[in-house]
């Protein structure tokens, strides 16, 4: 108990100092939210394994030492960014959660697509009335109890973020890439990235969040993404967790899908020491459609937990989940997927699948599907598998002259490719294919 109190001390003290230093720069709205969010977070503190939702992810070892809320540094982490994934050079960069470049990259790219600083919009700096209205309507409105601890923590310390707004009927075409980099020098910092995506009626956009950091530096990222898909909008969201080897990465995504909208969120977890990705999607309008997918490629003592909740609030919606992982050495994976079907949500179609490939005897995975169904005319299926590379498949490849390690790589790539091919945007998919290919080479197979 004493230890847990200590864990929270730094949050409280950090908040006091942080507010004193930064409140003059923070927009009123963020200050208001912060004073509400902090006590809510402190009341329960960091989740522990005693809670059902956190049964398989123990944060304690990562919280033994305090974190320091990050301040803005003029360190653009150039080395890190040089190796960052890139589509066409158009990206927004945040360092430790603070905007490091201006938002001009997306100006005039496409009329109807607007990418702004969240603090700027909340301060009233944005000339576009539509964007300002949308931010006030949607920012911090979609949080639910399912991922409250992470959202409260993020909101308490929030000082900026990115707003992606796609106007009615606009197809943004070019992906919006937001890079969150941890700065290179100071250790033990915690940063609070935030993204709000508002896609108006009939619009379409791809948003990619990339998280990067140095190896050998202990730090924490607590990221929150909110997505509002209005009727008929199509939002494809991709999260690339390429964090440094000693990073504690906690992310929460909250999406609301109106009628006939299509929301997808795909999470590629390659880096980080301990990674928790929460995705909560509410299907609130008939005909809404959600895809939640994830691919974890990890080794050593990495731990990745994908935690999802899909709420079918109304009838005639469809959801599909595909989570896969390849676990080498002592890596641990978790998939916990809940599908909630409300009484009025008849004709629901929900499909969930989690598949794991274990490359060593020490690697492990916990998979926990949960169906909470209150309607009677629904189709819900779920399945989970965990196993090793198939010996017969390996022999088949080798019998054609393909060397053992190459044969393994081909099979792993095919396994991972199932998730990668779900990425709709060609440029993003090609980039992820390359990342996956490179990562697979780093995962050793410990079986003879």
């Amino acid at each position: 108990m004493e230890k847990e109190e200590q864990q929270l001390n730094w949050v409280e003290q950090g908040f006091a100092q942080f507010s004193q230093e930064l409140n003059s720069k923070r927009p009123e709205r963020l200050k208001e939210l912060a004073v509400l969010a902090l006590p809510e977070f402190l009341a329960k503190g960091f989740p522990t394994t005693a809670e059902e939702d956190w049964k398989f992810t123990n944060l304690k070892p990562y919280l033994r030492k305090p974190f320091i809320p990050a301040r803005e540094v003029r360190d653009f982490a150039p080395k890190l960014l040089a190796g960052a994934p890139d589509f066409d050079g158009r990206r927004i960069v945040f360092v430790d959660g603070y905007a490091a470049r201006d938002f001009a990259a997306f100006d005039s790219l496409k009329s109807g697509l607007h990418v702004f600083s969240l603090a700027g919009v909340l301060r009233g700096d944005c000339a576009n009335k539509e964007v300002t209205r949308a931010v006030h309507q949607h920012f911090s409105r979609h949080a639910s109890a399912d991922n409250a601890p992470l959202i409260n923590l993020n909101t308490a310390f929030l000082s900026d973020g990115a707003v992606v707004f796609v106007g009615r009927g606009c197809n943004a075409e070019s992906p919006v890439h937001i890079v969150f980099a941890a700065s290179e020098k100071t250790a033990d910092r915690i940063s609070f990235p935030r993204v709000l995506v508002v896609a108006e009626e009939g619009s379409q956009v791809t948003v990619v969040e990339t998280y990067l950091g140095q190896h050998g530096t202990r730090y924490c990222t607590t990221a929150v993404t909110e997505i509002a898909a209005e009727p008929g909008a199509v939002v494809d969201h991709v999260r690339l967790v390429l964090e440094g080897a000693e990073c504690l990465h906690l992310s929460a995504l909250e999406a609301a899908a109106a009628e006939n909208s299509v929301v997808s969120t795909q999470c590629f977890s390659l880096g980080g020491a301990c990674v928790r990705n929460e995705a909560v999607v509410h299907l609130r309008g008939g005909g809404a459609n959600a895809l939640l997918a994830g691919l974890s490629l990890i080794n050593k003592e990495q731990h990745v937990d994908n935690h999802t909740v899909i709420e079918h609030a109304v009838a005639h919606c469809a959801s599909r989940e595909l989570y896969k992982g390849i676990y080498a050495e002592q890596a641990q994976g978790v998939f916990d997927g809940t599908i909630v079907v409300r009484p009025q949500a008849q004709k629901t179609n929900a499909f969930q699948s989690s598949q794991s490939l274990l490359l060593s005897r020490e690697a492990c995975v916990n998979s926990k599907p949960q169906l909470k169904i209150w309607a009677d005319d629904v189709k819900c299926t779920h399945g989970a598998t965990a196993g090793q590379l198939d010996d017969d498949a390996l022999f088949y490849l080798r019998s054609r002259g393909i060397e053992k390690n190459e044969a393994r790589r081909i099979l792993m790539q095919a396994f991972a490719g199932d998730v990668v091919k779900e990425v709709k945007n060609d440029a993003v998919r090609t980039m992820i294919e390359a990342l996956v290919e490179k990562r697979l080479v780093e995962l050793p197979v410990d079986f003879a």
Binding site: F395, S399, G401
Partner: protein, 255 residues
């Protein structure tokens, strides 16, 4: 080319299946190995291909001047050995064309040749497919995934045509095929026959040998070759069944 001397083998931690098989195959020859179910035919094919799960307890296999049993499966392939599977494995997500080109380039690399570019490879596949009267479109799909029995066997023969082995071992290539498919597969195999390469056809039924005419027929019963002879032996087997051989063996071995 291939010399199997008194080969004994068992399933790992299991009973012995091959009780001393001897067989010599020369260049340009086609050998048929026939036998009832459970006689050890597929075990022999698997051991020649290098599949895991078996333990060789005695004997030797010499191939192209090497001890075949010491080579990894991929090394055997690089020495020109090809195993056509009784049950070709489905590889979801592995594109057929990519798979075959990777295989071909692995063999080329072992021979010190440069990798074949996509365009040249595609031309080669079209040529081979035409020779076999196959539609090369099956290579656009994932390897064997959702293929019919006939498609799987054709895919094996197409791979064989592209990889141009010195020694092909066809393990029950006729199983699960109707006569039309059987004829197509057999004519494919025949098209690939030449004075420099050899084929071992493993089958339960004589009917395949109507289309792939062997130079020698061997009868494998209970892990041993109990009879060898010219192609006419196959007809005799078809007429009298394996019981005839079993009986003959019984007579010979009974005290």
């Amino acid at each position: 080319m291939l010399e199997i001397i008194n080969l004994r083998a068992r399933v790992e931690d299991g009973a012995e299946i091959l009780h001393g098989v001897s067989l010599t195959v020369g260049a340009g020859e086609v050998h048929a190995i026939m036998g009832p179910n459970g006689s050890g035919k597929s075990t022999l094919a698997h051991i020649l291909g290098g599949k895991g799960g078996y333990e060789v307890t005695g004997g030797d296999v010499h191939y192209a001047g090497k001890n075949l049993l010491e080579l990894a499966p991929e090394e055997r392939a690089r020495e020109g050995l090809f195993l056509a599977f009784q049950y070709p494995v489905e590889l979801p997500g592995v594109n057929g064309s990519y798979f075959l080109r990777t295989a071909l380039n692995s063999l080329r690399k072992a021979r010190g040749q440069a990798p074949m570019e996509v365009r040249e490879f595609n031309a080669l596949v079209r040529k081979k497919a035409k020779l076999l009267e196959f539609d090369p479109a099956i290579l656009n799909r994932s390897v064997n995934e959702g293929f019919s029995g006939g498609e799987k066997k054709r895919n094996e023969v197409l791979q064989m045509a592209v990889l141009e082995p010195k020694l092909a071992v066809l393990d029950e290539t006729d199983s699960g095929l109707d006569i039309d498919a059987l004829q197509i597969v057999a004519s494919g195999v025949n098209a690939l026959r030449g004075p420099q390469n050899a084929t071992i056809v493993i089958t339960h039924y004589q009917r395949l040998l109507n289309y792939i005419v062997p130079d020698f027929v061997h009868v494998l019963v209970d892990g041993k070759i109990v009879k060898s002879g010219p192609k006419e032996l196959a007809f005799e087997l078809e007429e009298k069944g394996y019981g005839w051989i079993n009986g003959a063996v019984g007579t010979v071995e009974s005290p």
